[in-house]
Symmetry: C2
Subunit: 212 residues, 2 copies
DNA sequence: CTAAAAACCGACCAGCAGTCGGTTTTGTAA
DNA sequence: TTACAAAACCGACTGCTGGTCGGTTTTTAG
């Protein structure tokens, strides 16, 4: 009996799109069921509430991004690039670009906040491990890793949330990141060009991404 | 003709309390008018919408806090204490303590986000000026002040939003702040005890006196 | 006193999330 | 094939929401 699961996925797909175009509050259950061509009761047969749909939609997004991030963690890459890659993996990319703009609309504050929380839980352990790796390699030097990663995630999500961040903000971000993790002065500067290059284009693991 | 203004203030007061106890979404206009003992039409005679009430409530809060922060800016105090004082002025204090807990409830995400934005606009110029003062005194040393202040505010609001932050988080915060602003290693450490002392006072007995 | 402006009233509206008793479809076992 | 229960689905309905509007009372000014 998997007809139910298929319908559920269909509804999640519709909800995903509508939440991100119209916003969560402005998307009505009636709107979802109209587009799906089903009755109210069917919707509530598959979901407990509208909010549960949001929760599951967010879960799908995070899971997908987390998978990519874990690939980067496992890859053989320079530590700073790993850090950047993991952070980047949790940013909307490709077809999901409109998400960025959508999440910043005030009416989506609840969704944005929920995503931020889940994203932190997913990204934090991966980054912590990478930082430890970096300390082992002598690239970083610091204590209280989780606390520092928390700050790092805080800053980077605020920076990348805003698609129009300035070059100056990016430079300061890298400088501050160096200081937070105890990297050598200027040792992360080379990431600046990498980020700009990737702006609008997805970071693929195909090449080794080594650049200086 | 100030009868109208008086009623408006009364409604703002009721809304303020209800927004912070029940949350914005969960507070209904019906709820507000029932408590005020007026009709729906009267509410909409004084306000354009429920959201405008939220905007004005937030404005009241920020204005009050900004006034206190400006007093600190003008005072003759050591620069690090000024920085801390300004940041602290924009934290809920005294009778407003429950705000902290209320704003962190997910249903208040919209309100929280709006407050965060307004707070940043109010606090940023004051902090920038203080940092410049600090650079003049040789306490700090950095460029791109607005960008750094933005990060500082970001971190501190995330830290103090959570009433149960750990001592370790506080230490890391101060360490990172030193680095962001280019202060001498450990030069802000003394703030740690100051902050903890303030926290104790909060719950102990609250201010009874008036100051002038 | 008078007339307008300000303040107020409450019935009303469309839209919302969620409910529920009933109906159809589907899988399964006899 | 039949019988039957579980799964899937239906849509009218409820109570509440933010917001509207034409009409009424109160206040103010000339």
């Amino acid at each position: 009996m998997k007809k139910g699961e298929k319908r559920k996925q269909e509804l999640l797909g519709i909800a995903y799109r509508m939440f991100l175009t119209r916003g969560y509050e402005e998307t009505s259950v009636d709107g979802i069921i109209n587009e799906a061509g089903i009755a109210k009761g069917t919707f509530y047969y598959h979901f407990e509430s509208k909010e549960q749909v949001l929760e599951e939609v967010i879960g799908m997004m995070i899971e997908k991004e987390a998978k990519e991030a874990e690939k980067i963690l496992a890859a053989q890459l320079p530590i700073p690039i790993k850090i950047l890659g993991i952070i980047n993996a949790f940013q909307p990319s490709g077809e999901e670009i409109p998400i960025e703009e959508a999440l910043n609309r005030p009416e989506n504050a609840l969704m944005h906040e929920k995503i931020r929380g889940r994203l932190y839980e997913a990204a934090s352990p991966l980054l912590c491990e990478t930082v430890r790796e970096g300390i082992g390699n002598g690239v970083f030097s610091c204590e209280d890793i989780p606390e520092r990663v928390k700050i790092l995630l805080l800053i980077s999500s605020a920076l990348f949330d805003d698609a129009d961040y300035t070059k100056k903000e990016l430079t300061v971000f890298l400088d501050v990141t160096e200081k937070i993790l105890g990297a050598k002065e200027g040792s992360l500067g080379f990431l600046s060009e990498l980020i700009e290059k990737n702006n609008g284009q997805r970071y693929e693991e195909g090449g080794n991404g080594k650049e200086e």
